[in-house]
Symmetry: C2
C-alpha cells in the first residue's frame, strides 16, 4: 500500500486532494491540515481548514465560495447579530453544527485529532484527516493596525492592512501529533498542496520535528506551486510572502521549500523559471496547474504523483 | 407607579404575562422566572423558561408549540445529529442563537441576569425579566428509572417514568439574585402565574428568603390556579404534584401556597371548591381561566389584578 501524505491548507489543498483521490485509493491518502487559522467565535471552536478539507472531500462544500456548506442558510447568525453578537465571520446553520459539536467534544476532553476523525467518518470521507497539532497554534499577522489573528486580518478586515510580519504558533509552543509524525515516517510520497506557503504550509513546517522529518524521509517530497505567473491563485499570498521576504514566484516557492523538496510542479506560464529551479537541485514538472474542474484536478495530481515516481526511479 | 411582580414558569406564565401587559403598563411589570429547567446540551446553556417568557412577550414564539421561535428551521440540529450529537431536545436555528450567545456571555463572565436583560432588550420586551437565580439550580425528578434532569424526564423520556419525588436545586445551594429580592420588596402586587406549582413555581419559592419575603410583604399575593377540573392545562403537573403529596385541584394549589397567599383565581368548573379555599382565609375569584386568545388572557389578568385591589381595600 503506497501511503500518500498531503500537507494541506484550505481551499487550494482541498481541491488538490479531490484530484489525488481520483488517481490514488482514498484510503491510502492522509491529509495533514493546518490549524493555524483556528479560532474561537461566539465561544465556539472554528477550524476553517479542517472543515474545508473535510467538507470538500465529502462533496458537501459550497463550490462557489470554496468554504461553507452547499445550500446552507444563516438563520442562526442573523439572530446572533440581533442579540449583539459578532457577525463578521459568516457561519451557516449546518456549518455551525460542526463548530458546536467540535466545541462540545473538545470541552469533554477529546483531542482535536479525535474530533476531526469522527467528523470525516460521519461525513463519509475515506481520506485520513489529521490536524497538524492538538495544541492551539494560532497564526497572527503583524500589521500597521496591530497584531491580528489570521482570520481577523483576512475576513474581518478584508486583508486591507499593511502586513509587516507573521507570528506562527502565537499561543506558545505547539507540537505535532503522534499521528502526524507517524504518517510522515511511514509516507511513500509526500505532497505539498498548492496552499499559501506562509500561513497554510508554514505553520505545519514550523512544528518541532516536522521539517526535520521531511528532510530525513526517504519518500519523495513534491510540491505544487500555489503561485502562478507571480500571483496567488486565491487569497493573500502576495503580501504575506513579501512580508517574510519570499520571492513571489514559483521559484520563490521552490526556494522556501528547497531543504525538504525533491521536486515541484509549476504552471506552464512559469516554464521560464524551470532552469533556475533545476539549478536548486530539484526536479520540475511544467503543466497546467489551474484546477477548473475534476479533470484538471486529476491531471495535476497525476503530474505530482508521476514526479514522485520519477524521483524514486532516479 | 404600581409595580407588579409575576412568579413565572414557562408556557402558562408567558401567556398569562401577555394578559398582564394588556391591563398594566409593561414597564411596570417584572417577571421572576424559574431557571430549574436550565441545562447544558451540546455544551450550550439552555434556559427554556427564560426563552419562552422572553420570546412570547416579544411575539416571536411559535404559538402552536408554545416554545421555540415562529418559523424556525432545524438545519443545524439535523447536522448535529449527522455528527453524532444528541437530538432529543429540538433546537431551532434561530433558537440556537439564544443558546450560543448566552453561553458565550456566561463564559465571558456575565451573570445570567445580565444576559436575560440584554436579550429582552434586544428583542424589544418592555417587561423586566429576572432569572430567579444566577446560580445553577437544576430540578431533578426522582423516577423508577433513576434521577433525571427535568428536561430529560419531560422531553427525552416523554414523562413516561413513574415519579417518586422531586429534588429542587440539585446542584447545591442556590441564592435568589439581589434584583429578585428587591423586586419582591418593592412590589405593589405579586402574582403567581398558572404554572406548575412543583417544578416551575416550586424552585422559586425554595430559594432562601423568597418564601419569607412573600410572607412578610405588604403587597397582596394572588395566584392563578394552573389546575382546572383536577387536571393540568398543560404539562406533567399531575404526577409531579402527587409525588410531593399535593392534592391535584385548585384547593391543592391554594393549600400549597396558603402561607404566602392572599387570594386565588380559580376556574368556573372549580367553583365548588371556593368555600373550602375561603376557609383557608383566602379570597377567591371564580372565572374562566382558559387562555384561548388575547381577550381571555386580558380578562384573566384583569381578574387577578382586581382580586389584588380587593385585598388591599380589605
Amino acid at each position: 500500500m503506497s501511503a500518500i501524505v498531503v500537507l494541506a491548507g484550505g481551499v487550494g489543498a482541498a481541491r488538490f486532494l479531490e484530484g489525488v483521490v481520483q488517481v490514488a485509493p482514498p484510503a491510502t491518502v492522509t491529509a495533514i491540515v493546518n490549524t493555524g487559522d483556528d479560532f474561537a467565535l461566539h465561544g465556539l471552536m472554528i477550524a476553517p481548514d479542517l472543515d474545508i478539507v473535510t467538507c470538500t472531500l465529502a462533496d458537501l462544500i459550497d463550490r462557489e465560495q470554496g468554504w461553507g456548506i452547499a445550500g446552507d442558510t444563516t438563520a442562526c447568525m442573523d439572530w446572533l447579530g440581533r442579540l449583539g453578537g459578532p457577525t463578521w465571520f459568516k457561519l451557516g446553520d449546518r456549518d455551525l453544527a460542526l463548530h458546536i459539536r467540535r466545541t462540545a467534544l473538545l470541552r469533554a476532553g477529546y483531542r482535536l485529532s479525535a474530533v476531526a476523525d469522527a467528523f470525516r467518518q460521519a461525513l463519509g470521507v475515506a481520506v485520513r484527516i489529521l490536524p497538524m497539532s492538538d495544541d492551539p497554534a494560532p497564526t497572527h499577522i503583524l500589521t500597521d493596525a496591530g497584531e491580528l489573528h489570521f482570520e481577523e486580518y483576512l475576513v474581518r478586515r478584508r486583508a486591507q492592512d499593511v502586513v509587516q510580519g507573521v507570528r506562527l504558533h502565537a499561543a506558545g509552543p505547539a507540537l505535532p501529533t503522534a499521528e502526524v509524525l507517524a504518517a510522515l515516517a511511514e509516507a511513500r510520497l509526500v505532497l505539498i498542496a498548492p496552499s499559501n506557503p506562509v500561513v497554510s504550509i508554514g505553520p505545519i513546517l514550523a512544528l518541532p520535528g516536522v521539517r526535520e522529518a521531511l528532510r530525513a524521509c526517504s519518500a519523495p517530497v513534491i510540491a505544487v506551486s500555489p503561485i502562478v505567473g507571480g500571483a496567488a491563485i486565491k487569497g493573500p499570498a502576495v503580501p504575506l510572502m513579501r512580508a517574510v521576504a519570499m520571492e513571489v514566484s514559483a521559484l520563490g516557492i521552490a526556494r522556501a521549500y528547497s531543504d525538504i523538496l525533491d521536486g515541484i510542479v509549476i504552471d506552464t506560464v512559469d516554464a521560464g523559471l524551470a532552469p533556475a529551479i533545476a539549478a536548486l537541485g530539484l526536479r520540475v514538472t511544467v503543466c497546467d496547474t489551474i484546477m477548473r474542474g475534476p479533470a484538471e484536478k486529476a491531471q495535476l495530481a497525476r503530474a505530482a504523483l508521476a514526479l514522485g515516481t520519477a524521483v524514486l526511479e532516479g
